[in-house]
Every structure is written in structure tokens, then in C-alpha cells.
């Protein structure tokens, strides 16, 4: 880590020697191994070792950025000199400057515990054995299920990074990650081959979900899609599985960014402090969660991070504006990054939510589609199960959800107690009423 910091300082110094007034420099290094296994044998083993230098330059009121992975000493010098020369040719931008160093202060003095030394101890035999075991577990209990293929995957790795700004910011950090997954493909009578899959992804090896559960869920999700039919077009109450909710919440949050607002492409413009969603929606962003997948002591501008509300009882609490766009808009920067979400949860698990829905549709996955950030219109493909008499009934596919981001989140009527621990968004399952679904 010290070595990376030294390299970042050196690059920033070189940029200034080449004529940059100020500079940011970041150096990253990462390493990882991934195994892919299918139907009784190893399909692919891949080792990844990466490194890169990135610099941002402020030259005569102009701004440019460059990155390279060619770190030979004889290459880095000319790379930086070229980057400075390129920047000098651009048109000036009065809003480009390094952030106010006062905002670097107040960094939390906590150990985020993002690095698990076990990452250096995983053997190839262990990875291989886990791949094999996951397949066995997925096939065990398959009974008459028409399984055509079982694929499993195991990965682990770590990354280290160091960042330096010439007006006093300095930071270095490292983190590890571990994951494994199972995919089960089954053959339906009509020739469709639906796939069910599940995965777990954590900072620490010991926090990974049990392999049995991942294998079982993948198998059950595949089985649940057999015999999928179409849905009648209409308005429905929909429950959305926790694994599918990130699609809806990221679409909701995207128009809060500086570029969206400053470029007048945000439906949330002028809505700060107003009610923009159901009062059941409360999300805090917690950058300081120990072992959190998105945890960080500083953000992309180098600002010290802190826990803060994004939406509280449906009221929009903050925009996500970085230092540059804040200068452009003449407002205070609010920090562009989000880290780990902390939802105000309900009391029911998915089964309970489904029971309360009574009659409707459970959406288990989204497929494609898009949103219009300027107006909020959204249209996503989806698939899942019909809910009848408070229970899951037949599977449905080729369904489409349409509406508006504001309407959708305004019609949130229940939040589950089941946040997904394998994602920094930590979404619980959610229920929305009166949503347009298209089918036949």
C-alpha cells in the first residue's frame, strides 16, 4: 500500500513538473481467480492481475484525465507529458478545480474490516471442491426435474488503491471479495430452457451464504419457471422479489446525479425536501458499515463520508452532486457516491407479503427495458409467478411493467423484512399497487 501511495505521489509530482497546476493521481492493483464448472468438469480457470495509473489534470484552467496500465518507467513519463499537453489544448472550464481541502477532513476513524487475509490462503483444490459440491447439491433432490445443465462458479480476489490530490488529500485502502454461484437449466415441454440461479458475494469468506442454500435456490428457481404462461394485460398489485428491487431503486436514484440535474435531464429537479415517494420508503446510505460491500471512508472527490438519509418517509433528502457539478450549479456539493443502503424494513418476509397481496403477481426478475430520466417513464420486461389466494401459483413470462418512477414509488404499499445481504443496495422485497402489466 505504501508503494502504491508513493507511486501516486510520484505521478502527481511528475504532472506538476510537466506544467499541471494541480493534479489527482490514483494507482490501483488487483488480483483474483475465477473458476467456472459445468456438468461434472472444470470449464474455465481464469487468473486476473491488474494494475493501472489514472491522473486528472488541471492545467491553465483546463481539465483532462488519462489512464494507463503500461507502467514501465520509460513509458509513464511520456504518458504524463502527453496528458498535460492534451489538456492544455482544450477550452477552459472555470468550474474545474481541486475540491476545497477543508472537505477532506473529518474522516471517520474506524476499521471498516474490508480485507480478509483468507484471500491469500484459498487453494485451487478448495475452489475446485466447492464447484463440484455445488453441482452435486444442485442435482441432489432434483428428482424428476428435467435438468439439462448445471453450472457453478467460484471466485475470490483483492484490490488495493491509493489516491493523492496535490492540495493535500491522500488515502489508501484495500478490500477482498469472495463469491460463488450456481445455475440450473431445465428443459420445458415446449422446448424452452429456463435457468434458475443464485449467488453469494461478500468481503469476508466466513460471511458467505451456505453452499446448500445457493444450490437449492438455483434449482428451485429453475423448477418454478417450468410451464410458464402469459399474463392477461391489466392493472395488478405486484410484489417484487428482493433480488429484483435494485433495478427499480437504481432507476429512482439515477436522476439525482449532478450531470442529470445540471444538464436538465432529471425529473427530480426542484423536488428536494418534497414528498416524491410513499412514506414507507426510507433509505439511509451508510458508508461506514463494517465489512460492507460498498463501504468507504472517502468518496470520489476525497470528501470524508458519513451516514445520511437519501429518502425519509418518502421525502427526498439529498441530491447526489459531486464537487464539479456543484460548482457548475452554484450549490454545495453533496457527494455523488452511494455506498451501503439501510432500508426501514417492514415486518413480513416475502411469504408474508405474498399472503397480504392476496391476488396479484410476484415479479422475480426483470429483463431489459429502460427509463426516461427526464420524465420518469419506465418500461421493463419481467417474469415471475401469479399470486392467488395469498399463495404463489403458476409462473408467467413475457410480461412487461410500465409506468412512471414517481407513480411506482408513490404506490409502494409494503416493504419486506428480507434485505439482500449479498448486495450493497441491501434491498428488501417490496409491494406496489395498481401497476400496469402487459401480456396478452
Amino acid at each position: 500500500m505504501d508503494e502504491l501511495l508513493r507511486a501516486a505521489h510520484e505521478a502527481a509530482k511528475q504532472a506538476q513538473a510537466c506544467g499541471a497546476d494541480e493534479a489527482k493521481a490514483a494507482v490501483v492493483r488487483s488480483r483474483g481467480v475465477d473458476l467456472e464448472w459445468r456438468d461434472g468438469k472444470l470449464e474455465k480457470v481464469q487468473e486476473r492481475t491488474r494494475r493501472a495509473l489514472s491522473i486528472e489534470l488541471y492545467v491553465d484552467g483546463r481539465y483532462g484525465a488519462s489512464s494507463t496500465n503500461d507502467l514501465r518507467p520509460e513509458a509513464v513519463g511520456p504518458f504524463i507529458a502527453d496528458a498535460v499537453a492534451m489538456t492544455r489544448l482544450l477550452e477552459p472550464d472555470p468550474h474545474r478545480a481541486l475540491p476545497d481541502p477543508a472537505r477532506y477532513g473529518g474522516r471517520a476513524d474506524v476499521d471498516l474490516d474490508l480485507f480478509d487475509p483468507a484471500v491469500n490462503e484459498v487453494s485451487s483444490e478448495e475452489r475446485l471442491a466447492l464447484c463440484r459440491d455445488l453441482e452435486v447439491m444442485a442435482r441432489d433432490g432434483a428428482g424428476d426435474l428435467p435438468v439439462v445443465s448445471v453450472a457453478t462458479g467460484v471466485g475470490d480476489g483483492f484490490s488495493q488503491s491509493a489516491r493523492v490530490h496535490t492540495n493535500g488529500f491522500e488515502g489508501a485502502r484495500e478490500g477482498s471479495s469472495f463469491s460463488f454461484s450456481a445455475m440450473v437449466t431445465v428443459k420445458d415441454v415446449d422446448g424452452r430452457r429456463p435457468m434458475g440461479w443464485d449467488f453469494t458475494y461478500r468481503r469476508h469468506r466466513a460471511d458467505l451464504a451456505p453452499a446448500e442454500r445457493i444450490a437449492r435456490v438455483a434449482r428451485e428457481k429453475a423448477a418454478a419457471q417450468l410451464g410458464a404462461g402469459k399474463l392477461a394485460t391489466g392493472k395488478y398489485t405486484i410484489a417484487v422479489d428482493s433480488r429484483a428491487v435494485p433495478r427499480l431503486i437504481s432507476a429512482f436514484l439515477a436522476p439525482l446525479s449532478g450531470p442529470s440535474l445540471q444538464q436538465r435531464r432529471s425529473l427530480w429537479e426542484g423536488r428536494l425536501g418534497e414528498k416524491v415517494a410513499s412514506e414507507l420508503l426510507t433509505i439511509y446510505d451508510d458508508p461506514l458499515l463494517p465489512r460492507g460491500l460498498g463501504s468507504a471512508l472517502w468518496d470520489g472527490d476525497g470528501f470524508a463520508t458519513r451516514r445520511r438519509p437519501l429518502v425519509e418517509q418518502g421525502v427526498l433528502c439529498t441530491y447526489l452532486i459531486d464537487d464539479y457539478y456543484a460548482r457548475k450549479m452554484g450549490v454545495e456539493p453533496t457527494g455523488a457516491d452511494t455506498h451501503n443502503f439501510e432500508w426501514t424494513l417492514g415486518t413480513d418476509d416475502l411469504e408474508g407479503l405474498v399472503r397480504d397481496v392476496g391476488c396479484g403477481v410476484l415479479i422475480e426478475r426483470f429483463l431489459g427495458g429502460n427509463t426516461n430520466q427526464t420524465t420518469g417513464e419506465l418500461s421493463f420486461g419481467c417474469a415471475g409467478r401469479v399470486i392467488r389466494d395469498g399463495k404463489l401459483a403458476e409462473p408467467v413470462a413475457e410480461v412487461n411493467l410500465s409506468g412512471n418512477l414517481a407513480t411506482l414509488w408513490g404506490r409502494l404499499v409494503a416493504v419486506g423484512n428480507d434485505p439482500n445481504p449479498d448486495s450493497s443496495a441491501a434491498c428488501p422485497s417490496c409491494v406496489f399497487e395498481g401497476m400496469q402489466l402487459s401480456g396478452i
Binding site: D39, V45, S66, T68, V148, G300, N370, E398, N400, S438
Partner: protein, 502 residues
């Protein structure tokens, strides 16, 4: 939801200008000479293959890559941001049957490359094989245009193009409030060395231009954009293209003010010629990539030589169209890219193959083995996928629809390979009522099932067109540039994800 926000390394590039860039020199001497600057020589190749083949692999390959790319951005009237990026490295792949070992290094020293080879070789388990002692170069076709190589063009020459687009856009309508322009160029150089001793050396340029606009009318706001891309040098950015991409971006934006969301439900859909090729890409293209079929996980796995579409439908995946974004001289395994007829008069003729799947099926590889970069093992991927022209007059096709929609421009699509369900997103189009295009529509997703939609594609127009947009296809975490083409077609029924008045 977000990790460390770092410099945008995806768009950019710089430094180490390619010597003699522009001459499409495919001689191996040029290939080794090019990478020789980074320390690559025949002795390194031999040492790497020695290690790669040490444990009984069937074959191995080295993929050297050097890429220099740049991105310039205009925002609020000024070209005031530039991003450059350099990537350099080699990927070593070792193959035994359909098992692969893969490792890469960004350090082109003999030690690092042989270490990567040793790691990749662990996938095999057997007696060693002889490494190639001599290397010979194959002659490649020449499918890119590079009259003005980007290595010879400075930032100052590029900037006026962005400023011109900004002026043209604002001159087009007083209702415009914001314009962003992106200019991207990339000069990739690859050297593929196979364990047979065969080498392929290719310089792969890419030019891309994108424009996005926001306009305001009566307190409402709308945004849209357009982009163009091709494998060309700086000459790509002609006045005609600058005018076209600007017009498209402005017109699409203004169109949205008069448009509403489409109705919901199943109805006939007419797809306009050109970018509607996204239907093929999603509905059948991915399902015909041979890896999914080899594994039995595609909805097309048992359909070879069967009828999957009406008689007048012929679908091609083609790497040979000059200067197209999806064109390649050679794929990333050293196979010269071809024109591959996937569906001929409605019959499924072949899948798209890489070397591993071709060996599995006992056929020749089709030149579809592609990868995002040296950091990835190749996979069967599309190049330029299109449907050949049929015989119908496009106006007749619209007239044939009592009530449905006409889909004109698209932004994105997705597919689940096994189930066959796919979607694509319509940015602009029209309602069709009694055979006429009437109310403008926007922002509507379409969802269907691949094999089902193919059989329902019942009218094919005589107005074939390629789309020259900057399409990028993602699979297994790898992005590759692709192209699309399509005549006007009618799908007799498909689910339109609109909204019905309650």
C-alpha cells in the same frame, strides 16, 4: 451501489503513438516489430508456449494487445474535457477439449509471460507437447478504412467537430436547452499467436460520435440522443455524418413532445428498416452462439436444419462489411472473419462458432471468436447481424395493420438465452390505426419469445438498411462492438409494454 468513483478509463487513450500507423501491414515481421518495442520477441513466444503446453494441452494461444484511445467531450458550449487511455498486455489461453485455462499479464517481460502461461497450463493434466519453433504470418483481408490514422491527428483538429455539432443543434430549434457531444477514437493493435506457429497481426481503428439533447416546451422537458460509429480513421467525421447525427438527435428530442406512451397488450408491430436489427440480435442472435448450444442451454439447442422461420427469411452474421463497427479482418483466435448464413429461407443452417465449439460440432470455425480485451478468453460473439431484404413494399406493410405500432428508433435490448424471452426498448414510433401511422409514441419496451416471434415475422420489406449506430453487445461481462441491419418487417403479434387508460 457504487464503488470508488475513479477516472473514466473506458473511453480514452493516448501516448505511445503507433509508429507507421495507417499502413495496413499484416506481415508478421510488422507484428513482432510492433510489440518488440515492449520487449516481445520470438524467444519469448517459444518460452511461453513451452510452459503453456507443458501439461498436455491440445493447443494454446497468445493474444497481445495495445490500445490507445481518446474521448473528447463538449458540454455547455465548450470542448472542455478530454480522456485518454492506454492498455497493453497479453492473454495466454490453454485449451484441452472444451476446458480452458486463462491468465493474463500487463507486464510484457519474459518472466511475467511464462508465469501466466504456467498458470493457464494448470487446466491440463498430461505429458508435455512440443512448442512451435518457427512462426509464420497469415495474410488478412483489409476491411477497415484508415486514410487519416488517429495517431496523426491532434486534439486541436478534433475540437471543431464537436463545436460544429453544438452550433448546428442550437441553430435547429430555439427550444433546445442543453447539448452534449462525445467524440471517441480508438486505435487497437492485436497480435494473435497460435501454438501451430501461425500469427495474425491486425490494426483495428474505431471512430464514434454521440450527441444528446434536452429541450423545453411549455414547462415540459424531454431528452434524447443519437450516435454513429465505424471502423475508420479521422475521415469518419465527415460533414455529412456530423449533419446526420445532429439532425437525428434534435429530431428525436423534439418528437417526444408530441408523443405519448404506447398502449399495453398484444398487437401487431411493424419495425422500421435499419436499427430494428436489434430484434434479430436479441431474439435469435445470442441463442445461435454455439457455446450455449454446445452446453444445451439455448432455446435453439436442438433446432439445427429445422425450419424456424417463414420461407422468405434469411439471417446473416457478417464480419466482412467494410468499415462497419461490427467488421473484423480476423477474430480474436486468429480465424479470418466470414459471412455466415445462420438462417437460410427459414431453415437454421449453422450456429456462430469459436474454435472450441467448432471442434465440438466437427465444423470449421466461423470467425466469431471474439473478446473484449487481452483480459478475457474469447467466446462466440456476433459481428454484424442482419436480415436480408424481402419482397414487400414497406408502405403495404404499414397498410396491412388495423391497430398496432410502428417502431422507429431503439436504445437497448436483452435476452434470456435458455427461455428465449427477449426485450427491446422503443424510443420513438407511431401508433398504426386503420393502416396509417397516427399518434407518435415513445419510451415503450417490447417483450417476446425468440422462436415464437420468428415464426410470426410474416412480412419482410424490400427496403433493407444497415444501421450505423454505435452498438455494443455485452455477454459474460465482456463488451464487443457490433452492427445491425434489417428491412421493414411485420411481427403479427407481440407484447407491447405500454400503458392503458384506466
Amino acid at each position: 451501489m457504487s464503488d470508488d468513483k475513479s477516472l473514466d478509463a473506458t473511453m480514452s487513450g493516448f501516448a505511445a503513438r503507433a509508429e507507421g500507423e495507417g499502413a495496413l501491414d499484416t506481415s508478421g515481421a510488422a507484428g513482432l516489430a510492433y510489440f518488440g518495442r515492449f520487449g516481445v520477441d520470438e524467444a519469448m513466444l517459444r518460452a511461453a508456449f513451452d510452459r503453456a503446453l507443458a501439461h498436455g494441452a491440445d493447443w494454446a494461444e497468445l493474444y497481445f494487445e495495445h490500445n490507445v484511445s481518446h474521448h473528447l467531450g463538449l458540454e455547455d458550449g465548450a470542448v472542455n474535457r478530454a480522456y485518454a487511455s492506454v492498455t497493453l498486455g497479453v492473454g495466454v489461453r490453454v485449451v484441452k477439449g472444451d476446458q480452458q485455462g486463462y491468465a493474463y499479464t500487463e507486464e510484457l517481460t519474459r518472466d511475467a509471460v511464462t508465469q501466466a502461461a504456467a498458470t493457464a497450463a494448470l487446466v491440463a493434466n498430461g505429458p508435455s507437447r512440443d512448442a512451435p519453433q518457427a512462426f509464420a504470418v497469415q495474410t488478412l483481408p483489409s476491411r477497415y478504412r484508415m486514410r487519416l490514422p488517429f495517431g496523426d491527428v491532434g486534439v486541436a483538429e478534433k475540437m471543431p467537430i464537436l463545436s460544429r455539432i453544438n452550433e448546428l443543434a442550437f441553430a435547429a430549434t430555439p427550444e433546445l436547452v442543453k447539448v452534449q457531444v462525445g467524440f471517441a477514437d480508438s486505435s487497437g493493435v492485436v497480435l494473435v499467436v497460435e501454438s501451430t506457429g501461425r500469427m495474425s497481426f491486425d490494426r483495428q481503428p474505431m471512430a464514434r460520435l454521440s450527441v444528446s439533447c434536452t429541450a423545453e416546451r411549455g414547462g415540459r422537458r424531454e431528452s434524447a440522443g443519437a450516435n454513429l460509429a465505424g471502423r475508420e480513421g479521422f475521415e469518419f467525421f465527415s460533414d455529412a455524418r456530423v449533419g446526420k447525427v445532429t439532425d437525428e438527435a434534435v429530431q428525436r428530442t423534439m418528437f417526444l413532445f408530441d408523443a405519448t406512451v404506447a398502449p399495453a397488450g398484444t398487437m401487431p408491430v411493424v419495425l422500421a428498416a435499419g436499427s430494428a436489427g436489434i430484434l434479430l440480435h436479441e431474439a435469435i442472435g445470442h441463442g445461435m452462439e454455439a457455446d450455449f448450444n454446445r452446453k444445451g442451454t439455448s432455446v435453439y439447442s436442438d433446432k439445427l436444419n429445422q425450419r424456424i422461420a417463414p420461407d422468405d427469411i434469411t439471417i446473416v452474421d457478417d464480419g466482412t462489411i467494410e468499415a462497419q463497427r461490427g467488421a473484423i479482418n480476423v477474430d480474436d483466435e486468429g480465424v479470418v472473419a466470414q459471412r455466415t448464413v445462420l438462417v437460410e429461407n427459414g431453415i437454421l443452417r449453422t450456429y456462430m462458432h469459436d474454435r472450441i465449439s467448432a471442434l465440438h460440432y466437427g465444423v470449421e470455425p466461423t470467425g466469431n471468436g471474439r473478446r473484449e480485451s487481452f483480459r478475457h478468453a474469447p467466446l462466440p460473439r456476433m459481428r454484424s447481424t442482419y436480415m436480408e431484404a424481402g419482397s414487400r413494399d414497406p408502405e403495404e406493410i404499414v397498410r396491412s395493420v388495423k391497430r398496432g405500432i410502428y417502431a422507429e428508433s431503439f436504445t437497448n435490448g436483452q435476452v434470456m438465452i435458455g427461455a428465449g424471452d427477449f426485450t427491446f426498448y422503443i424510443k420513438t414510433g407511431y401508433l398504426i390505426e386503420d393502416g396509417k401511422k397516427t399518434r407518435p409514441i415513445k419510451d415503450t419496451n417490447i417483450i417476446g419469445n425468440g422462436p415464437d416471434v420468428l415464426t410470426k415475422t410474416d412480412m419482410v420489406g424490400n427496403d433493407f438498411a444497415f444501421d450505423d449506430g454505435g452498438w455494443t453487445c455485452g455477454k459474460d461481462g465482456q463488451s464487443v462492438p457490433v452492427s445491425l441491419g434489417m428491412p421493414t418487417v411485420r411481427v403479427s403479434e407481440i407484447t407491447v409494454g405500454g400503458v392503458n387508460e384506466s
